[in-house]
């Protein structure tokens, strides 16, 4: 988190803003993308949400008061954008525009391939299967449990999750308890 603090508003004072922004992306993009991917189950939407989250953060960095960590702040933006995505999906469905032809339901194989070329085919197949199982287990959770589980998986504490999602800490704890139980049952063979 020390590095993250360097990219906060106070860290920008003596730094070239573009370099600071690039550093922020470097440090946090995996986290933001993971949250967006697990909450939408759609790679194209996850890329869009990740991009929009960073652009929004950059646009409003002056409004960041430092009451929460930069990581929690980014998570809150990402969670809100994901909720907008689902509202948009529901609206499309309501007016009869289905998304059957929409791309992004699965990750491109080359993105799942390990960087080490050795043993690629087997590893790629295993990675793809694991990805499918994990996403399927998350999709089976009710929306609030899914949000809590996904943020918990990114290392956020219960209080931070509460701040990001606008929930009481006790509610977060209850959701995490239920989600953990269900995920444990679905993914037991990998644990």
């Amino acid at each position: 988190m020390e590095n993250v603090k360097k990219t906060g508003p106070e860290g920008l004072a003596g730094t070239d803003p573009e370099s600071a922004f690039a550093l922020l992306i470097e440090e946090q993009q995996r986290l933001v993308y993971s949250v967006a991917l697990r909450l939408t189950g759609n790679t194209a939407a996850a890329e869009d949400i990740t991009q929009e989250t960073f652009i929004a953060a950059w646009r409003h960095i002056k409004d960041f008061r430092g009451e929460s960590s930069l990581k929690t702040w980014l998570m809150r933006i990402a969670a809100n954008k994901t909720r907008s995505y689902w509202r948009w999906k529901r609206l499309r469905s309501w007016v009869g525009l289905s998304d059957k032809g929409e791309d992004g339901e699965g990750a491109a194989l080359e993105d799942l391939l390990p960087d080490d070329p050795a043993g690629r085919p087997e590893q790629a197949a295993l990675a793809a299967e694991l990805e499918r199982r994990v996403q399927s287990a998350i999709n089976a959770l009710p929306p609030r449990q899914r949000e809590v589980a996904v943020l918990r998986a990114q290392g956020l504490g219960l209080a931070e999750i509460g701040a990001a999602l606008g929930m009481a800490e006790g509610t977060v704890k209850a959701h995490w308890f239920e989600a953990r139980k269900k995920l444990g049952a679905s993914l037991g063979e990998y644990l």
């Binding site: 992306i25 995996r30 993308y33 907008s84 309501w94 990750a107 080359e110």
Partner: protein, 99 residues
């Protein structure tokens, strides 16, 4: 669930992508930041679209009744009464003084 299992579960939920993917994504975000003034993603306009859809729904369900001019209503009633005149038996049964 013990702590070891919980930490395994947490690591399972992370998205695994190649370094090339992360580099490509970072470049995309930086490029988008430069082009920020461009059009936004359509789904970010969802709240406005939802309001518009609601408005359409309300208008469809409660269409404003066409206001009929008073003379038209009178004319319609008058024509209906004229239709009664077709029944000449009625007319013939009415005493002449009452006509």
């Amino acid at each position: 669930m013990n702590e070891e299992k919980e930490s395994k579960l947490v690591s399972l939920l992370a998205a695994r992508r190649s370094e090339a993917f992360w580099r490509r994504q970072k470049a995309g975000i930086l490029r988008a930041a430069v082009e920020e003034r461009g059009p936004r993603r359509a789904w970010l306009l969802a709240p406005a679209a939802a309001l518009a859809a609601l408005l359409v729904l309300v208008l469809v369900r409660n269409p404003s009744q066409p206001v009929l001019d008073e003379p038209q209503a009178v004319s319609a009633a008058f024509i209906e009464h004229l239709d009664l005149l077709d029944d000449m038996d009625v007319l013939e049964a009415v005493p002449e003084e009452e006509l």
